[in-house]
């Protein structure tokens, strides 16, 4: 099977300074991500997981180093160029969901979709199809985020991330604020879209969530110290994956 590189970093560094004290969140990271992968980034609190996710997605600029994504070097783009890059190539799913309170669910999705396509009819149809696909009924489309359950809102968030058919969906602990049942339904959506070839990069500290990925990167003090490859997720093979992952994490000192 041939693999196509999705993005690659070279000597990626990110440093925060506060009150004159420098904190190196990412240190000289060289990572290569492949198209179609469901990459999971794990690590303890403060290890730099989210920092890495936002640097890879062009949401934040690295202090040093390069990020090559789709033939572009992200670290050389200004904020607006990054915004245009994100709208075309990236989808985002956040732990706090971050739907816009003042807009209906459908409008939340369209606010992203219409940025890229001017064909309002086609985008609306696609949004409705995706919303139905993630199990949101028509009655929910016109509701406001505050009127939905956490799981429903997060599924709407995933539709917003998918509406522009991005190269990759970045998810920052997407089940962190959800109960168990809601988490499962959200993870199933991720698994389904990944099965259809959608690349996903997800930050999590949850074992059950990490099991959905086919690659697990472990971050400690801003450095990748473990890289585990797994077969694509299948519910019937959970046990073997679970053992392999726990062994890896134990080795990482998790």
């Amino acid at each position: 099977m041939t693999t196509t590189e999705l993005l690659r970093t070279e000597k990626l560094c990110k440093t925060f300074s506060s009150g004159g004290i420098q904190q190196h969140a990412l240190k000289n990271l060289d990572i290569s991500l492949v198209q179609g992968d469901f990459t999971v980034i794990m690590g303890s609190s403060g290890s730099g997981k989210s920092t890495l996710l936002y640097a890879l997605s062009g949401m934040d600029k690295p202090t040093l180093g390069e990020i090559h994504f789709g033939g572009q070097e992200l670290s050389k783009l200004n904020n607006d160029q990054l915004a245009v890059f994100r709208r075309k190539n990236c989808g985002f799913v956040f732990q706090q969901i971050h739907l816009l309170d003042s807009m209906s669910i459908l409008d939340n999705v369209l606010a992203s979709g219409l940025l890229v396509s001017k064909d309002r009819k086609a985008i609306a149809a696609k949004a409705k199809q995706l919303l139905a696909q993630v199990g949101l009924t028509e009655a929910a489309w016109g509701k406001f985020p505050s009127q939905l359950s956490g799981g429903e809102a997060q599924r709407a968030g995933i539709v917003r991330a998918l509406i522009n058919s991005p190269d990759v969906v970045f998810a920052d602990e997407p089940t962190g604020a959800l109960n168990s049942a809601a988490s499962d339904s959200v993870l199933n959506v991720f698994t389904d879209v990944n099965r259809n070839g959608q690349s996903i990069v997800m930050v999590t500290h949850d074992l059950k969530t990490a099991l959905r990925g086919n690659r697990v990167l472990y971050l400690r003090d801003g450095v990748i110290c473990g890289d585990l490859r797994l077969d694509p997720y299948r519910p019937e093979h959970q046990h073997a994956r679970h053992e392999k992952l726990t062994a890896f994490l134990a080795e990482m000192g998790w």
Binding site: A83, R87, H98, L114, S146
Partner: protein
């Protein structure tokens, strides 16, 4: 102490908002202080100046040949008169000279600078060094402040075809005859120059000046009018324009009316700014309660009482306002000299700014108390807020019942639709912005309409003053048949129409009233009758509402007019308005005038040209009609001269109002947008994360204000267009004006409206530019 801690913490947390509020209050207090100071000082200003300059309270000037010793004797014998003085002068009915950008024709009185006098001695403000030489002249200060002359400049004037050239040796202050709007100006010539001019001008220019000083200035009009009653003959001779009289009350009223109007505009504008500040404070208080509701909950949970929390909010805004009001009052002393400049332009007198603790205290008190009241009202809801409700973020008052502007169905671009959504979300705040913008748009339009009518299309303004806007006045010679002369003039090429309009005075029910006599009032351009109509028949009269009020008459009543020994009863057909002669005027027809002035036939033919050149026409008249005509006056020049002093003053007012409008629009939008960005930070971050560029978000924010600004500007524009005249009428009602009909020049108003909308859009974009510095990640996580 606890309250002070809360207050200082609140101020520190919203420094930029506190600063913009501070600026608003500074402007309000500054304008209020300037306006109130000028309004309250203006009345005394002329009296103080008059005393300081030893000015006479009554002045009578006449041709030497018409002078009677009885005139002076009359004043000598009045108990109200303290002292009198008379002196020979050179009196010219029409002297043409350059005043500012215009050639003007005005009466001129030349006094010998070296002659001894008690009343109105020459008091120079600036003077060239060295002794006065032949060819020097001292001119009123207005020539410097209003007409742009400098010391040493050449001053040329033309009288009856002769041109006289002088060097300006000095500028002096005078309350009498110091500005063109008096119709005559006074000059001092050194003895040599005086004699030279006397010789050149001939005996016909020899005049006499009687000056009288009273024990009580307030009696000046009364005594002068009594003089009129005593000697009615001299002023009835309308063929003799070489008679001028004035008193300090009249001079004060003519000189101070425009200044008072300017001051009233400033006070009204200050009131608008104070209201704007109060609305902003109300908005800020409501917002700070919403934003800090959890903190309020914590404070309440810790045991702070509602009173303490409200007191800290009130203290915060009252403190800012009090400090800003003090700064505003202090800064007003920097602005008062500018206003003093306007006063000098209008009056030819130097206005000196003095510290007035009472006035400053009043401005401070008005502003601070208003702010305190608004803050207390706006923060009253803290009382009913339970700690637990506050800790939970308060009661959500917004319910998302309708999804406005749905993106899948609504027409319009994405940015516009998102902007509309944002606009709907902030209804209350947008209402406030719209009202504020409407108010200041109204003020801007008011000032621009005023300027347009004073500087550009002066007709309405001139009519307001009571003058007729003909192009040329041809005075028929005493023995000429004015009716035939007018008919002949009408036949000339370039003449649109002509009408006889004489000015004289007569007694109405015993009161002396300035009277216009015309063959056909319907032909006049200045139709000042606002109720009823002008007289058409010999038994009819129209009077100003001031006269009607004074005599207790109304339309349909009869009134007895007297001239000399003759009297006649007229029917009042209409009420008119006039700003001149303290608003006291009457109007009768020529046949009507003949009842009390047998043989009266009218003299002054007002000619309206159809684009023909005034100078050429006047030349033609003199050549063609020779001895049939007396003096021929270029009215356009005269009007330009008499109105020129108002232009710079009204221009200054317009500039002040427009500048402050720009500042207020900028400050309000800065406050609101800054607040909005902070409030919507997370939302903006989400939009940035999903791929919106900074420019798109800026445009969204700016666009969300555009409909609000347009609504405000349109409301202000429409109100300004419809009610500027009403507001002016209100401001001028004390001066005898009942209805103002200034031209509301719509293209100019449209330009201002478009300018304000453009400015608002630009400011919105500029303020929201701050988003560019914040990364999507930063916006979400902060």
């Amino acid at each position: 102490m606890k309250i002070w801690h809360l207050t200082s913490a609140n101020i520190r947390s919203g420094k930029s908002a506190a600063f913009s509020l501070f600026i608003l209050i500074v402007i309000a207090a500054l304008l209020l202080n300037v306006g109130l100071t000028v309004l309250t000082k203006m009345g005394a200003f002329f009296d103080e100046k008059s005393e300081q300059l030893d000015e006479p309270h009554i002045v009578i000037m006449t041709k030497q040949s018409n002078y009677k010793p009885d005139y002076r004797a009359y004043f000598d014998n009045r108990s109200e008169v303290k002292a009198t003085e008379e002196e020979a002068i050179i009196l010219m009915n029409s002297v043409k000279f350059r005043y500012g950008d215009n050639d003007v024709s005005l009466g001129a009185a030349f006094l010998n600078a070296d002659a001894d006098r008690t009343f109105g001695p020459i008091r120079t403000v600036e003077e060239l060094e060295g002794p006065a030489q032949a060819g020097d002249i001292f001119v009123p200060l207005g020539f410097q402040s209003s007409a742009g002359y400098k010391l040493g400049d050449s001053f040329e004037m033309t009288y009856q075809g002769q041109t006289f050239s002088y060097r300006i040796k000095g500028f002096y202050e005078t309350t009498m005859m110091g500005t063109p709007n008096m119709g005559i100006m006074k000059y001092f010539l050194p003895d040599a120059s005086y004699r030279q001019l006397m010789e050149s001008a001939g005996d016909s220019a020899a005049g006499m000046l009687i000056s009288a000083g009273l024990h009580d200035t307030n009696q000046s009009s009364e005594v002068r009018q009594a003089f009129d009653k005593q000697f009615p003959d001299k002023s009835m001779d309308v063929n003799n324009p070489l008679f001028w009289q004035g008193d300090s009350e009249l001079v004060k009223s003519v000189g101070s009316i425009t200044i008072n109007v300017v001051a009233m505009i400033l006070v009204a504008f200050a009131a608008v700014i104070v209201l704007v500040s109060l609305m902003v404070i109300q908005f800020r208080v409501t917002n700070s309660i919403d934003d800090g509701i959890v903190n309020i909950g914590v404070l309440k949970a810790l045991g702070y009482t509602s009173r303490q929390i409200i007191a800290s909010t009130a203290l915060q805004f009252t403190l800012i306002s009090a400090v800003a009001a003090i700064v505003g009052a202090a800064l007003s002393y920097g602005v008062l000299p500018v206003f003093g400049g306007i006063v000098t332009t209008l009056s030819g007198l130097i206005w000196q700014t003095k510290f007035d603790a009472g006035m400053n205290g009043a401005s401070l008190l008005v502003v601070t108390l208003a702010v305190l009241a608004v803050t207390l009202i706006a923060s009253a809801r803290i009382r009913s807020l339970q700690p637990v409700t506050a800790l939970r973020g308060g009661i959500r008052t917004h319910s998302f019942l309708r999804n406005r502007f749905p993106l899948d169905r609504a027409t319009g671009g994405l940015q516009l639709l998102l902007a509309c959504k944002a606009m709907i979300m902030n209804k209350k705040q947008n209402m406030m912005v719209a009202v504020i913008i409407a108010a200041i748009t109204f003020a801007s339009i008011f000032s621009v309409v005023l300027y347009y009518n004073v500087a550009s299309d002066k007709t309405a303004f001139v009519h307001l003053v009571g003058a007729e806007t003909s192009n040329v006045i041809v005075n028929a010679a005493p023995d000429a048949d004015s009716g035939k002369l007018m008919a002949d003039i009408n036949k000339l090429e370039g003449v649109r129409k002509s009408v006889i309009l004489d000015m004289t005075s007569m007694k109405l029910d015993g009161e002396t009233v300035f009277t216009s006599i015309s063959d056909d009032f319907a032909k006049l351009e200045n139709q000042s009758v606002y109720e009823g109509r002008y007289p058409k028949y010999d038994n009819e009269i129209a009077v100003t509402w001031v006269v009607a009020d004074m005599l207790g008459k109304e339309v349909g009543d009869t009134i007895v007019a007297e001239a000399g020994d003759a009297s006649y009863t007229y029917l009042i057909t209409g009420l008119s308005q006039s700003i001149s002669n303290l608003g006291q005027a009457a109007y009768i027809t020529i046949p009507g005038a003949q009842h009390i002035m047998p043989g009266y036939k009218g003299t002054s033919i007002n000619v309206y040209l159809d684009g023909a050149d005034n100078a050429g026409f006047m030349e033609q008249i003199k050549k063609r009609f020779g001895s049939q005509v007396g003096e021929v006056v270029d009215m356009d020049e005269m009007i330009d001269g008499q109105t020129s002093i108002y232009i710079s003053a009204v221009f200054a007012v317009m500039v002040i109002v427009l500048l402050i409008t720009i500042l207020v629009v900028t400050l309000i939008l800065y406050l609101v947008i800054k607040k909005m960005i902070v409030k919507r930070k997370k939302e903006l971050g989400i939009l940035k994360a999903t791929g919106y560029t900074t420019f798109q978000l800026m445009r969204q924010i700016a666009l969300s204000f555009v409909p609000v600004v347009i609504a405000g500007v349109l409301a202000g524009g429409v109100l300004g267009s419809l009610f500027t005249n009403s507001v002016l009428t209100l401001l001028l009602s004390g001066a005898g004006i009942h209805k103002v009909a200034f031209i509301v020049h719509l293209p100019l108003i449209a330009l201002i409206c478009v300018g304000l909308i453009g400015l608002s859009y630009g400011v919105s974009m500029l303020v929201s530019w701050g988003i560019r510095r914040i990364s999507a990640y930063g916006l979400i996580t902060e």
